[in-house]
């Protein structure tokens, strides 16, 4: 949106900002063994989080392992949607459609009409979600901007209504008895009990490493964490490759990118397909954990929450959108005691965030750079006086 509002930031503020090393530089500056140790400690912390039962962080009303699993699926979905919205700049309001495709593929292949093993049905689910992304994208990616938003929104609704109305897919009842992934049952991990005020290792409450039962959701959370790790790795590789640069160029100015020899349509389609695949993967995980799925799990509002996660966190920055996904999925669960008011508070929080943190919680560095460049440009054009 181009408006005639003059730049408001002063130049001195920028210079100070530029000199301060960012979080990334500081971490990179550490010696290698320290870095590795930090990463391992962080990963261990994440894995043990559901068992640590840290006061205040742990959700009281609902099972913390289950909540963390939900958070993890949101993170996964946000990572996928970030490729579409953050990297390629395509507004997708029907992302829940791919999520549903993934979940239902696993449901149909392993419970409803066949009994393929879990390890086989998940890759197929990813493939079919990707295919659905291509089928949706190939005709619709030619329309731009907000039209794409409404077309994808329509797609999400078409998928949901088709699920409701097709008996072959279980209709409104959905699909139940989705099998669990193969377990290993290697060792038990004890939980920590805080009821006496100090942390005590509680050997009675344990989670078995990778035993996918129906009462303990912690192993599912571990599974989701591993998948997130792999997806983040993939994301880093793709973002830093030629593909990532092509997406960036397409997002910033499609016409210029096309002129520079970037086949923008193909790269947009690729972003759509990859995003859809990751959405399908998280849907597959969701179906695995809950064991049954029905169309009510794939309402339009979920797409809106996914978009909110990406934009709240800072579209384009993978760490930012992870934070955004945690904010969107964790806080409504944590504050369940205000059950009646949580949507209200969530809405207010979104509005306040939009006003006070319009770039998202952790905006991508490129956006910050571009903003500063714009401000410098504005100062050059309008003179120092307006600054």
């Amino acid at each position: 949106m181009s408006t005639s509002t003059p730049a408001t930031t002063t130049t001195t503020g920028e210079n100070q900002d530029a000199r301060r090393p960012g979080f990334k530089e500081r971490v990179n500056g550490l010696p290698r063994p320290v870095k590795i140790a930090l990463w391992v400690a962080f990963a261990l912390f994440l894995f043990l989080l559901p068992l640590l039962n840290i006061p205040f962080v742990t959700t009281e009303g609902s099972d913390f392992g289950g909540v963390l699993f939900t958070v993890a699926t949101y993170v996964l979905v946000a990572l996928g949607l970030n490729i579409v919205v953050g990297y390629a700049g395509l507004l997708d309001l029907g992302y829940v459609g791919f999520y549903a495709v993934g979940a239902y593929t696993v449901g149909v292949l392993s419970a409803e009409h066949a009994s393929l093993p879990w390890l086989l049905s998940v890759p197929i689910a990813i493939g079919i979600a990707m295919l659905s992304g291509i089928i949706l994208g190939a005709p619709t990616l030619r329309v731009r901007g907000d039209y794409l938003a409404i077309v994808t929104l329509g797609f999400g609704e078409i998928v949901r209504l088709t699920l409701v109305n097709t008996q072959w897919l279980g209709g409104a009842q959905g699909i139940s008895d989705i099998p669990k992934p193969p377990g290993l049952e290697l060792f038990e991990v004890p939980a920590i009990d805080w009821s006496s005020g100090a942390p005590v290792v509680d050997l009675d409450t344990t989670s078995t490493f990778l035993k996918f039962g129906i009462t303990d959701f912690v192993p599912y959370y571990w599974l989701a964490l591993i998948v997130i790790g792999l997806v983040v790795l993939f994301d880093v590789l793709v973002k830093n490759s030629r593909v990532g640069r092509a997406w960036e160029a397409t997002r910033e100015d499609e016409d210029v990118a096309e002129l520079m020899g970037v086949p923008t349509f193909r790269f947009k389609l690729l972003a759509f397909a990859l995003g859809a695949a990751i959405g399908g993967l998280s849907g597959a995980l969701f179906a695995t954990k809950s064991g049954f799925i029905n169309p009510q799990s794939f309402e339009l509002i979920l797409s809106i929450l996914f978009i909110a996660a990406v934009v709240v966190g800072g579209a384009g920055n993978r760490w930012g959108i992870i934070v955004g996904a945690i904010v969107v999925s964790y806080f409504p669960e944590r504050f369940r005691e205000f059950a009646d008011f949580r949507v209200l508070v969530f809405g207010l929080a979104l509005m306040l965030l939009a006003i006070f943190r319009p770039q998202g919680i952790l905006p991508p560095r490129r956006t910050l750079r571009a903003k500063k460049a714009d401000e410098r440009q504005a100062i050059l054009e309008e003179g120092e006086a307006s600054a």
Binding site: M1, T3, L91, F155, V343
Partner: protein
């Protein structure tokens, strides 16, 4: 197919009445999109508040079925006044609270969508929690009838008994149908003329065409935007009255699906184009009804969205093309 042909006029008239409601709500999306280039996601809540205002005013005036002609006219008139005032107020408030601060800070367009989603949640929840809200201000005794069962459907007495006026192809066209269709078209004609001829309308078109040049020519952009929201809200209020007359039931989340449909109608006709919104609304209403006659009612919404996708593929800017500024109106 035979079923559709046998009841062709029945489906046509129902399609046109619901299409009229879509069209009026679509105007709000189209106007705001034309001026600000953003999807006013909370517009559905503006409509929802209108339905409640219409409902409450009927309750307040003791409206019920079987009133005299004078009474009915009075009730309907008061419904219009209340719903338009409420929706207009909410729309202006929305602009003031959710959009203006962002504009002042030059926020990216996507974040405006987030703010709108937040505002939409807040508005819907306020209505869903209205019994709590009433008890905070200590009015729950006085307002019990208005706020009870705040999460459930709220129904309105049928103040206009549907009476067949004339019969076409075996379908009895009722007075309500005629009121809704003719009323909606009349309101649109007024709006069309307002945007085309009045000073403020010229401002709206100017800002839609080129905000910077408009500002240079002395158009007060903030004021134009405010008027745009007000007009959109008033249209949603009128839609809410027609909706209540035809359907008669509302709920705190009634706006959402209707909002999606109305936005679809706006895109279908060419977003930013007033006449496109009218056409889009009617086309969508008709397509939904014909489609449900052909493939079953449960596929109604699928038909609507498939139609949208198809039209966008062949006419990427909607039926009549986009832009409030360029495509006149």
């Amino acid at each position: 197919m035979q079923y559709l042909l046998d009841n062709f006029f029945s489906f046509t008239i129902t399609g046109l009445t619901i299409g009229a409601v879509y069209a009026l709500v679509a105007l709000g999306y189209t106007l705001v999109y034309g001026v600000l280039r953003l999807i006013n996601f909370a517009h559905s809540e503006v409509f929802m508040f209108g339905t409640f205002a219409a409902l409450w005013v009927v309750m307040l005036l003791g409206g019920k079925g079987g009133g005299s002609v004078g009474q009915v006219i009075f009730w309907v008139a008061m419904m219009f006044v209340a719903a338009m005032a409420m929706s207009g107020l909410i729309a202006v408030l929305l602009e003031r609270v959710a959009y203006r601060p962002l504009r002042k800070r030059n926020a990216p367009p996507l974040i405006a969508l987030i703010s709108a989603i937040g505002a939409s949640f807040v508005l819907a929840e306020l209505m869903g929690l209205r019994s709590r809200v009433a008890s905070w201000v200590g009015l729950d005794d006085n307002l019990r009838d208005y706020v009870r069962n705040s999460r459930n459907n709220a129904g309105m007495p049928t103040i206009i008994q549907p009476q067949p006026i004339f019969t076409i192809g075996g379908y009895h066209v009722t007075n309500v149908d005629i009121l809704v269709i003719v009323g909606a078209i009349a309101i649109m004609v007024v709006l069309d003329q307002f945007v085309k001829r009045s000073r403020l309308g010229r401002g709206i078109r100017a800002v839609a065409m080129d905000p910077e040049s408009a500002a240079l020519m002395g158009v007060n952009r903030d004021r134009v935007i405010q008027v745009t929201f007000l007009v959109g809200g008033v249209m949603a209020g009128a839609a809410a009255v027609f909706y209540m007359l035809k359907i008669g039931i509302t709920r705190y989340d009634a706006g959402f699906i209707l909002g999606v449909k109305a936005f679809t109608a706006a895109v279908l006709g060419g977003i930013g184009n007033l006449r496109g919104a009218l056409l889009g609304g009617f086309v969508l209403g008709l397509a939904e009804n014909y489609g449900s006659a052909l493939v079953g009612t449960q596929w109604k919404d699928v038909v609507a969205f498939v139609l949208l996708v198809l039209i966008l593929l062949f006419r990427p800017t909607g039926l009549l093309g986009e832009s409030l500024g360029k495509a006149r109106a």
